[in-house]
Amino acid sequence: MPFTSERLKQFEEIKKRYPEGRHKSALLPILHLVQEDHGWLPVAAMDEVAEVLDIKPIEVYEVATFYTMFHVKPVGKYVLEICRTGPCCLVGAENIIQYLKEKLNIEEGETTKDGLFTLKPVECLASCGTGPVLQIGPDYKYHEHLTIEKIDSLIDELRSKG
């Protein structure tokens, strides 16, 4: 699964942000783009990133597994990254997570059988005054002040998009 020429051009542009010999700095920005293309980070794609940056594959793997935004296993088309940290729980996040589990019939970390949704509780998203909150990649738009009704209409909307 080679990168498109457009992506390769983008990678080269990103590398220019850093001084000569420091292009490994481009790793995180590039991984975000690769994940946008695949929905997750397959090993083959990570190996290609290593080639692009002239680093060892392990240097890519160790970064991909360290940061929670990167998925190193296949996930659903829509990964519901919902905040589970204290301030959101003060305004009802635990109930929203419970409701999502029941509605989608999955546990935390699981994907629905149709491959559409993965439920992934995450830590604080800096939306404590507007919680409960969830976001969905690749644009990571914030869905804030979540209620049962908002969850229903969001899931309906995503299902109809397919």
Binding site: R17, P19, R22, K24, S25, A26, L27, L28, P29, L31, H32, L53, I55, E59, E62, V63, F66, Y67, T68, M69, F70, E81, R84, T85, G86, P87, C89, L90, V91, G92, E94, N95, I96, V122, E123, C124, L125, A126, S127, C128, G129, T130, G131, Q135, G137, P138, D139, Y140, K141, Y142, T147, I148, E149
Partner: protein, 443 residues
């Protein structure tokens, strides 16, 4: 008195034209044409500005530590990795008035003789990254960035870097590791970033809010800034208020405002939500000690508690706390201290980078012990066990995540021990979480 958010409601302030119309980028003209880098450092020293990310270290002093004599490039890196639970002020500032940060970055980079600077934004804030990239492109187009800025001979390139989701990257050396394309493992200090920072070069890392205060200081002078606030807590601070209050949001306060006024005034939090009573406050982000109502409103000496570095820490950790990041989390009388602490401890366990065993293992044990207390399987000896584990993490790790994990545990048990004992003796006695369940389900 507003310094950072004065123009936040002006139409078009997000764009460079709207921003310039409201006096934006004046400090770049003044700094680059009238002042030397060393004069700028002196102004910031005079202002008494302190790091707004949480540590409160004097900014001017941090700047003066930069090894300017080194023949290596110097870097300014802005810490926009805002991840401390309860904190959402930087996100607000970058979203609504992005050019204030860009302006601050230009002037501060000039003061530090940096020719390349980075803004490291947590990856989850992808839309903020887009906003900043647009603002930077506008600044290049107007000649505020790039070669020979405003004909001054000064060159500066500014880039935005996306993180990947890791609380630890808010720690400055972990942030630098991440910016170098590595895991966010904090470095041993010394050497400090001022000597050995990004790519082994002299580097200053400052929080978004700190850098955003610099343009005002350049325009009005450090002495004018020092005249605002109280004592060594000069200027204004953004406080992000959340939890069980009527008006969650970001407020710019003059340092020295009474905590009671902040909580109950309609100008700020507007009192406790749903007509309930105040129970406790975590005043500076999840890492700082929790204080019960009596101690957050008044110090142990019965003085009014103020929103300032000194007043909030009055009494040390026995009866005080810290201003921290300004993440102000309010708990009402129906919230459960034990459940919240279990939640916070899970957070620190999840976010520990795993380098130091006291933190890696200790946070996990604290989470496990709190889980069993919260779920009705605790023992009375667990409470002292938690205090003991917290003590064995504190001060024994490379970075302050260890303290950040230990302080909430120590303080919650210090001030709310009876609640922990009640959870052990009669798990059913806590009805707080059930009530929360019903409240949210009825939305």
């Amino acid at each position: 008195m507003k310094i950072l958010l004065e123009h936040i409601d002006k139409p078009g302030i997000q764009s460079i034209d709207g921003y310039i119309k409201n006096g934006g980028y004046r400090s770049v003209e003044k700094a680059l044409k009238q002042l030397s880098p060393d004069q700028l450092v002196e102004e910031v020293k005079t202002s008494g500005l302190r790091g707004r990310g949480g540590a409160g270290f004097p900014t001017g002093m941090k700047w003066s530590f930069l090894d300017k004599k080194s023949d290596k490039p110097k870097y300014l890196v802005c810490n926009a990795d805002e991840s401390e639970p309860g904190t959402f002020k930087d996100r607000y500032l970058m979203e609504h008035i992005p050019h204030l940060l860009i302006e601050g970055m230009i002037v501060s980079s000039f003061a530090l003789t940096a020719k390349t600077s980075y803004i490291y934004v947590r990856g989850e804030m992808m839309y903020i990254i887009r906003i900043l990239e647009k603002a930077i492109a506008e600044a290049y187009a107007k000649g505020y960035l790039g070669k020979n800025i405003l004909g001054s001979g000064y060159d500066l390139d500014l880039y935005v870097q996306a993180g990947g989701g890791a609380y630890i990257c808010g720690e400055e050396t972990a942030l630098l590791e991440s910016l170098e394309g590595k895991r966010g493992n904090p470095r041993n200090k010394p050497p400090f970033p001022a000597v050995w920072g990004l790519y082994g070069c002299p580097t200053v890392v400052n929080n978004v809010e700190t850098i955003a205060a610099v343009p005002w200081i350049v325009n009005n002078g450090g002495a004018a800034y020092a005249g605002i606030g109280i004592g060594k807590s000069t200027g204004t601070k953004l406080i992000s208020a959340c939890g069980n209050i009527n008006k969650p949001g970001v407020y710019e306060i003059e340092l020295g405002l009474p905590v009671e006024e902040f909580i109950y005034s309609e100008t700020y939090c507007g009192g406790i939500a749903n007509g309930r009573e105040l129970k406790a406050v975590v005043a500076g982000g999840s890492s700082v000690p929790i204080l019960p109502k009596n101690l957050i409103l008044k110090t142990a000496n019965q003085d009014a508690r103020l929103m300032s570095y000194e007043s909030l820490s009055d009494g040390g950790f026995i009866s005080g706390t810290m201003l921290g990041s300004g993440g102000f989390i309010v708990f009402d009388d129906q919230s459960c201290i034990v459940r919240n602490l279990w939640n916070f401890t899970r957070f620190y366990h999840h976010e520990s980078c795993g380098q130091c065993s006291p933190c890696r293992e200790g946070t996990g044990w604290m989470e496990k012990v709190l889980h069993r207390i919260e779920h009705g399987h605790g023992k009375l000896t667990d409470i002292d066990l938690l205090v003991d584990v917290a003590k064995k993490i504190e001060g024994k790790t490379i970075c302050p995540l260890g303290e950040a994990a230990a302080w909430p545990v120590a303080s919650a048990i210090r001030h709310f021990r009876d609640e922990f004992e009640a959870h052990v003796r009669n798990p059913e006695s806590c009805n707080a979480r059930h009530l929360h369940f019903e409240t949210a389900m009825s939305h």
